[in-house]
């Protein structure tokens, strides 16, 4: 069974994981090149110091996060899909699975999907206003 490289990050006091290969680079909070997403279903960073930059449909987008803890290589077996009922019940496709890390469960985030949904919500809010 192959290992996976996960990048661990935190938003609003909670830790999450993303496949490291899906992150193009880590931007600083002052990087004007990135198109920033400040709030998502993960919450809003309390102190957005970093951004996880990914390619979303050909464009570079950055999810603002409180911190990046680093990259961790884990056996593929510690990553489970979301339970089917949970997958059916949550209102997002941006959570791809669960990482078992000792007693802790982290959500494996599908970052491009999460950013797509966040953008959609932002535009919906904009229409409401």
């Amino acid at each position: 069974m192959t290992d996976r490289e996960l990048l661990l990050f935190s938003v609003d006091g909670k830790r999450h994981a993303v496949d490291a290969g899906s992150v193009q680079r880590i931007a600083s909070g002052r990087d004007p090149e990135a198109d920033w997403i400040l709030a998502s279903i993960l919450g809003r960073p309390r102190c957005p110091r970093r951004g996880l930059v990914v390619n979303v449909d050909g464009e570079e987008r950055a999810l603002a996060v409180d911190g990046v803890e680093g990259i961790e290589r884990v056996p593929a077996g510690v990553v489970s899909p979301l339970p089917p009922f949970a997958r059916a019940a949550i209102r997002t496709a941006g959570i791809a699975g669960v990482v078992v890390r000792g007693d802790e469960l982290l959500f494996l985030v599908d970052l491009p999907q999460l950013i797509r949904e966040s953008s959609k919500e932002s535009s919906l809010y904009a229409q409401d206003e």
Partner: protein
């Protein structure tokens, strides 16, 4: 004498699981009332470990937890029945249920266990409408009081439908 009478009227629910003469039910307490699910849908009773809440989850989905290496979703039926929370404490128990392809854990105020009732004791629920009756398969009057049997498949379908963003 009394215990002999009880044994005749309420056979051992484990023996009754395969008996066509009785229906085995797993009784749990929700919203201060007695509810049940068909016993063959209940696979295990467990103590809930630490729960991790999911982002963008509806109120009836309390989160996920690790049960001996399996990640399970934890549902609060009281949220579907009456939009109320089931109080949880350290060491609270849950029933792991399987309905079709859906395997999940259900919390309750208390898990009372198995009982066995004759099929004739089960009656159709009151006309359905919004509220708990929407999710009932049967009602029954048992020695311990009224009992409402949940239609687990309907609850799961309703939960999924409520989760689809409008």
């Amino acid at each position: 004498m009394r215990s002999q009478s009880l044994q005749r009227e309420v056979p051992d629910p484990w023996e009754a699981l395969g008996s066509p003469d009785h229906v085995s039910l797993f009784v749990l307490r929700l919203l201060g009332e007695r509810y049940a699910v068909e016993a063959n849908l209940v696979q295990e009773v467990i103590r809930i470990g630490p729960i991790t809440r999911l982002p963008a989850a509806p109120a009836f989905l309390l989160g996920v937890f690790n049960h001996r290496g399996e990640i399970l979703a934890l549902m609060d039926p009281a949220q579907l029945l009456a939009e109320e929370n089931t109080p949880l404490a350290t060491g609270s128990r849950a029933a792991i249920v399987q309905s079709g392809e859906w395997r999940l854990a259900m919390v309750a105020e208390a898990l009372e266990g198995l009982i066995s009732v004759p099929p004739a004791a089960l009656e159709s629920p009151p006309a359905s409408g919004p509220g708990p009756s929407e999710f009932l398969k049967y009602v029954a009057n048992t020695r311990e009081g009224p009992l409402a049997v949940l239609d687990l498949a309907r609850m799961i379908d309703a939960a999924r439908a409520r989760s689809i963003p409008g």
